[in-house]
């Protein structure tokens, strides 16, 4: 399929306002009073045009007239380095220098719909599409050159976008195209480069955005400054489902800079000229508001008991008739139960978005994980045709799943609707983020297994109690908290529980009988996807339990795991971990504890094994996590430093969850409203971190961003057991949970 010029014009016309472009940081932004503030002084970017069809090269690769390559991805940069990794893949297949490549992230006005940037899926998904598109683009260009010269393409060489066909035959991609778009179909037949010829893939290419960050250049949605932009704050209720009884709006209306106060049911917001004026007004609104607040419950003390009593009847995910009998008749059988509390994303910067409403059209600059799902859901919220909504993805502060990014985007849009023709920038306050983000669900995991006299596991029975791990607003406005607070509220319908609850609950270990029951539970707190979803709790349980089994069998924990594994790559990460850490010599080091754990994320992505080392201080009844060593196999590694960076980060973050974190709440609401009531790991507690990569360039790349979360939790629990003899089965693992008397 190829649009003729006329068709294209018609097409562009019909998509109307979408083309009236906004660059990411428009030039107006440069008009700041600090003239030294440089930004975007390099390539201005290819001119905007809508994405047509994801099966066309043009949806992924665009060559402008002056020698640049633009890569388009529907995925967002979340700090995971996806921009660089995807550019490496494209430059590799196209045979162009990385320096001339640029990338555009999710933008409903330009890029393909790739859903959410989630599940460690960007390299596997977008990377694959871009690789195919780039290979196809190269093939098309070679064919064009071949036609021009009347030669076969097999003899043609490419170097930085210049095709060479012999002594006098040289032409660049851009000369060949003469400004034409690459609208050929991606057949999937274009040859992919052999990994032995890779120049960029597998190389630790530095992230270009880090240069911007160290220079204090504009990068985040928070840094967006549009002409005539105004500032907003939202007053959230004190607790879920609270209704606004009264509020003194008159008091602030005359304050300096206040442009508008919005009260729509229990949704209250203020717009001001300057940000601080909005913050001050927000404080006044908060103090003058009265709410009818329902009680929150069950509380933490009764939560896990309540799960057992009030969960739905089990969903049988995996069945194995007669498994209880098999466990009971095993040589050895054990049973244990593990718990994970509610934990938060806790992004460093509160969520922020900018929205502008012109006539019927709405534009939202958002740190969302999915611009198309955002567009869908805003369409539901406003009853507005999708074509009239443009969502432009921009980097936010740390994204580890479904945090406040979508909510703040919807709220910015709600406010912009009340204040048309001016861009509205909304940033949450710290307490908004802590109180209103959807948390990772509390879980209870009960495991029972039997093994034979040699330490071979025979049967494994899993029961999970959990609230949902996905309430992403994919088309349903009721998933936005503030949509539920409007005078004409949208209902929140959970819409079924997701598979996220039992992610990684099925052991990868080889055994004849496995059963998995999931008890879905409606808990007291708002929950959704947090890095790893249920895998964090499930692997914590599974890999702690493996250690308990190893101990029962009297076997070395690594040897025990290997004995029960068939998967060669799984065995390889464990063996590499043992050799890199000198595992054998570590076993009898007094005053220390060592714990290992392993998983293959989602049982389909990266392999990761980790050793945690703790120092035990019996006199002070305390311990310290001193070092963690990880080994990761993500198949073909696109950027080893990017992979390491993300894995190191996952390890530290998981260690923080595991040792410190639990959302506190009482019947009046969330108590964890800031960093002192929800402490996370800081420098003095961060252990030494080491990451080793097993690169397999001959294989496909596999998602890696969430691989460390679960194993780290179990490795720490296992190290505490090794060092103190106490098996802590309830997260977080705090010193007071260790039986120091027994030790």
């Amino acid at each position: 399929m190829k649009l003729t010029t006329t068709n294209r014009r018609t097409f562009l016309k019909s998509s109307g306002q979408l083309l009236i472009g906004f660059n990411l940081f428009p030039l107006a932004f440069c008009k700041s009073k600090e003239t030294e503030n440089t930004l975007m002084n390099d390539y201005g970017g290819i001119s905007e045009r809508p994405h047509i069809d994801r099966n066309l090269i043009d949806s992924w690769i665009r060559l402008d007239a002056d020698g640049h390559v633009t890569i388009l991805t529907g995925k967002q940069e979340l700090g995971q380095g996806i921009r660089t990794a995807l550019m490496q893949i494209a430059a590799e297949e196209l045979d162009v220098d990385l320096e001339i490549c640029h990338i555009i992230n999710g933008d409903t006005g330009q890029t393909a719909n790739e859903g959410y940037t989630a599940g460690s899926n960007s390299v596997e998904g977008s990377g694959k599409a871009i690789r195919q598109a780039a290979a196809e683009a190269k093939l098309v260009l070679l064919k064009l050159a071949g036609e021009k010269w009347g030669t076969d393409i097999t003899g043609l060489q490419v170097k930085n976008g210049i095709i060479q066909g012999g002594p006098d035959k040289e032409i660049s991609y851009w000369e060949l195209l003469e400004g034409r778009y690459l609208e050929e179909k991606i057949t999937g037949d274009a040859p992919i480069k052999d990994h032995n010829d890779h120049v960029y893939v597998g190389k630790a290419v530095p992230r270009e955005d880090i240069m911007k960050l160290v220079r204090g250049e504009a990068h985040f949605v928070h840094d967006l400054r549009l002409p005539d932009m105004v500032h907003a704050r939202v007053l959230h209720p004190p607790v879920y489902k609270a209704k606004l009884v009264s509020i003194d709006l008159d008091n602030i209306k005359d304050h300096d800079g206040i442009l508008k106060v919005i009260e729509d049911g229990s949704f209250v917001a203020v717009i001001a000229k300057r940000e601080f004026q909005a913050v001050k007004a927000w404080q006044h609104l908060k103090e003058s508001s009265k709410w009818d607040s329902p009680k929150l419950g069950p509380l933490s003390e009764a939560l896990f008991e309540d799960m057992k009593t009030n969960a739905n009847s089990p969903q049988i995910v995996e069945d194995s008739p007669g498994i209880s009998g098999k466990i009971n008749s095993s040589f050895k059988k054990i049973k244990a139960e593990y718990q994970r509390p509610y934990q938060m994303h806790g992004s460093t910067g509160p969520s922020c978005a900018v929205a502008k409403c012109d006539d019927d059209n709405l534009t939202v600059w958002s740190p969302t994980q999915g611009v198309y799902p955002l567009q869908n859901t805003l369409s539901d919220l406003f009853g507005l045709a999708k074509e009239k909504i443009r969502c432009i993805g921009m980097p936010g502060s740390g994204c580890y799943g479904h945090n406040g990014a979508d909510d703040v985007s919807a709220e910015a849009a709600l406010i912009a609707k009340h204040y048309p023709r001016r861009p509205v920038r909304l940033q949450w306050m710290r307490e908004d983020e802590h109180q209103w983000e959807p948390y990772g669900s509390a879980m209870s995991i009960q495991l029972e297994a039997g093994m034979d006299e040699t330490g071979k596991i025979l049967a494994w029975d899993t029961k999970i109690w959990s609230d949902t791990h996905s309430t992403r607003p994919n088309g349903k406005a009721g998933h936005y908290v503030s949509a539920r607070h409007l005078k004409e509220p949208f209902e929140f319908q959970k819409g079924g529980f997701s598979g996220g609850s039992y992610r990684n609950a099925t052991p990868l270990y080889n055994m004849p009988d496995k059963r998995l029951h999931l008890y879905n539970y409606d808990g007291p707190l708002r929950t959704s996807a947090l890095r790893g979803l249920g895998a964090y709790g499930n692997i914590f349980a599974l890999e702690s339990f493996m250690d308990e089994l190893a101990s029962e069998a009297g076997m070395d924990p690594i040897a025990f795991r290997i004995k029960n594994l068939d998967d060669k790559r799984a065995i390889a990460v464990l063996e590499t971990l043992a050799s890199k850490t000198g595992w054998d010599s570590k076993l009898k080091n007094p005053g220390k504890g060592y714990g290992v754990a392993f998983s293959k994320y989602k049982n389909s992505a990266s392999y990761f094994a980790v050793l945690a080392e703790v120092e035990i201080n019996k006199a002070e009844k305390s311990f310290k996590l001193t070092k963690m060593t990880g080994v990761i196999d993500s198949g073909q590694c696109i950027n080893p430093d990017g992979l390491k960076n993300q894995t190191e980060g996952g390890m530290v973050q998981s260690a923080s969850w595991t040792l410190l974190e639990s959302v506190q709440f009482d019947e009046n609401g969330i108590l964890s409203k800031d960093w002192s009531s929800y402490p996370i790991m800081r420098f003095k507690e961060v252990p030494e971190i080491e990451v080793h990569i097993i690169n397999r360039p001959e294989l496909s790349p596999m998602g890696a961003g969430e691989a460390a979360q679960g194993p780290v939790a179990a490795a720490i629990a296992n190290a505490i057991f090794d060092g103190t003899g106490t098996r802590v089965r309830e997260l977080p693992i705090k010193a007071e949970k260790v039986d120091w008397e027994r030790f």
């Binding site: 503030n37 913050v279 001050k280 460093t348 502060s397 960076n645």
Partner: protein, 157 residues
Amino acid sequence: MTVKAQLDLNGKKVQVEVDEKEPLLYVLREEFGLNGPKFGCGLHQCGSCMVLVNGEAVPSCIQPCKSFEGKKIETIEGLEKGKGLHPLQESFFEEQAAQCGYCLNGMMIAGLALLRSNPKPNENEIRDALEPVICRCGTHTRFISAIKKASSKTTKF
């Protein structure tokens, strides 16, 4: 009530007229278009908004702009001084010390304050200096490496 404030910002004398209570952070971002200092908590708990004030790393999200009069304010935007990247910027880039990067400002400012008073810090001193700054992506070990690296490049910060 608005007040006039004279500031010494990144080596320049500047003047603003703002609400007497307006914290420095908002003035830096809104009036001077700076991106380095960021709003993180507004509670002096996270360090996202740190700036150098007379060489010390200080949060800017609560104290009124006016209270910074007569003090030397520096942000990461002021580091380059026309001579290319500052060694600390170089080191953070070379170590690829960022994931989302939201906390980077606080890390660099806290690191810079340390290096100015102690150009050859040991690891514990680096950890102490960075302790007030929250990083949620878990990039801590790279920040420590970046500061060590900067320390090996020069003694003048």
